[in-house]
Amino acid sequence: MESNQEELKEMLKLLCQSRFFQEKMLAVGMKPYTEIGEEAITIGSCLGLRKDDIMSAYFRGDASWLRIKGVVNLRDHFAWWLNRKGENGPVTCIVPNNWIDVDRGVIFTTSSLLGADGDMSCGAAMAQKIKKTGKAVLFMVGDCAPSKGNFHEVMNFASVYKLPLVIMVRANEWGMSTHVSKNCGFKDITKLAEAFGFATATIDGNDITKVRAQVEAAADHVRTGAGPFLINAITYRMAAHSPNDEDDYRSAEEKKKWAPKDPLKVITGHLLAAGVSEADIEKIKTDCRQEMDDAYEWAMKQPEITPEEILESQQSAVKKMWGRS
């Protein structure tokens, strides 16, 4: 019971760290693709994997899980998003999400194209199989992006080679202004995956405990060579596609319906049920907000990355690639 309390508190903290990070970004006028209301999927996935398993990033969200993976600390993380210099970290990655840190099990696509991330993840899983590392790879994808042909070819490879690949579908109903029902001819993505011989599960994506448990089980399944696994995590895109999106193509009711299912509310329910006091919960939240404010302030004092530095970094890379150094 104690340990359960601690675990739940930790989950709350991680969820808050993600949510409040995003809220801070919005509050100061940045334009991230948020994942407000969907954080349980990202954080739960990260927690469900073993430390040395591999997870592909997602374009949406703040990539708080990169901190869990030890890729970046909070201060630097703000700095990245602000295009400022942190203590370490990239100068020229596209967005922090695009960072690739193989040693820490973090991968993504090198472009901004939906679909390409799946192909990289498929390759990552092939690499684990070829090198017999016993590691699982989790590929995170939206519910609309699977209309791209890449997704089909990923499923096919995963199936033919029985790759250690877990596909986590973030079923948030929308892709930009397009409802999933107008985007995907398949009404149930698990049926599609099953046609390829995937094991599948449909879960409540707003309950981090369920996400974590299912990811753990799925990763263990794929690790054995039993073939790939697809998890369909039901959630909702509570925010607009991006802060530039006026988001007037869906009804207020629809959004309202989902408010009580906010993953922060769900975990709070778990905490209360486990006997954690409201005061303790509040304290976690307050501390976390404070942490964000402090880190943001620190980051804002760091020097901006100049276009010249970006150019210099990329030019010296290309020089090396072209054998001119």
Binding site: T92, S112, G115, P307, L311, Q314
Partner: protein
Amino acid sequence: MREITFAQAINEALREEMKRDDNVYFVGEDIGQYHQGRGPCGVSTGLLAEFGEERVIETPISELEIVGSSVGTSMFGLRPVVEIMHAEFLPTCFEHIVYGGSKGGCILNAKPFPMVIRCPFGGEKQGQLIQNENVEGWFNHTPGLKVVAPSSPYHAKGLMKAAIRDDYPVLFFEHRSLYKRPGEVPEEDYVLPLCKAEIRRNGKDLSVITMGNMVRRAMEAAESLSGQGIDLEVVDLLTISPLDEETILESVEKTGRVVILHEAAKTGGIGGEIAAVIAEKGFKYLKAPVLRVAGPDVHTNFPRRKEDVIAGVQQVMNYR
């Protein structure tokens, strides 16, 4: 004359051509409701309301199929106008651009395959990290394919209308920094010729051969340099492939000096083809090396600024 923006000009071209010919339809991702109906690029306003879902077809995320199926509809006499949300996505439908109607027309005795693929490209900011690339250099090696990049609302509207009426594939690049810029556009119906460049400024000392948003930079540089007694001619390609060799060579004959200016990375950019045409057919006019002022060879956009253009011009002018 009235002024409208580049985005409005394209919107008008689409509306007028859709009215004019029932076979024209508009297809792409989120072109109906997004941004309060303005669509991702801001050119969709009112189209869905006016023409309905049958002619303003919102699609799944599926660039390959959007373009591939359009090759199919075009065989049957329809005239698809395809929006690809970002030019950076063109690799995912590359096969249907370089084969599709371009190859189809060529191998099937000039059978018509009308299709316009329009997409935003480029950007203004130095070192912006996504979705601001210049990819037109991939597309000038496809016989039969026309590639257009207008530089003003006037040209955008006239060329878009021409592209929609054309019987063969046209890849239509719209520079992101131009969408919101206004310019004079006649109220009356007009089309501008494809495959024709335009002299945007007459000059006698040096020809700046350029396109898209860089035309503005060239004009600014010309303005500045005129104070120093250097008289630039500015050639706006408009159609960047195939090249209007006649206009280019006439200009080179007149000035004898050339700067080729584009935003895209230098290596493999369209400047190579331009330089090659001049080095072969305009050699006798040349008083100095043909200089390319273009983006650095990296995966991020660093658009040339007025100062870069001026420096390039001076370098060529000072050649002995």
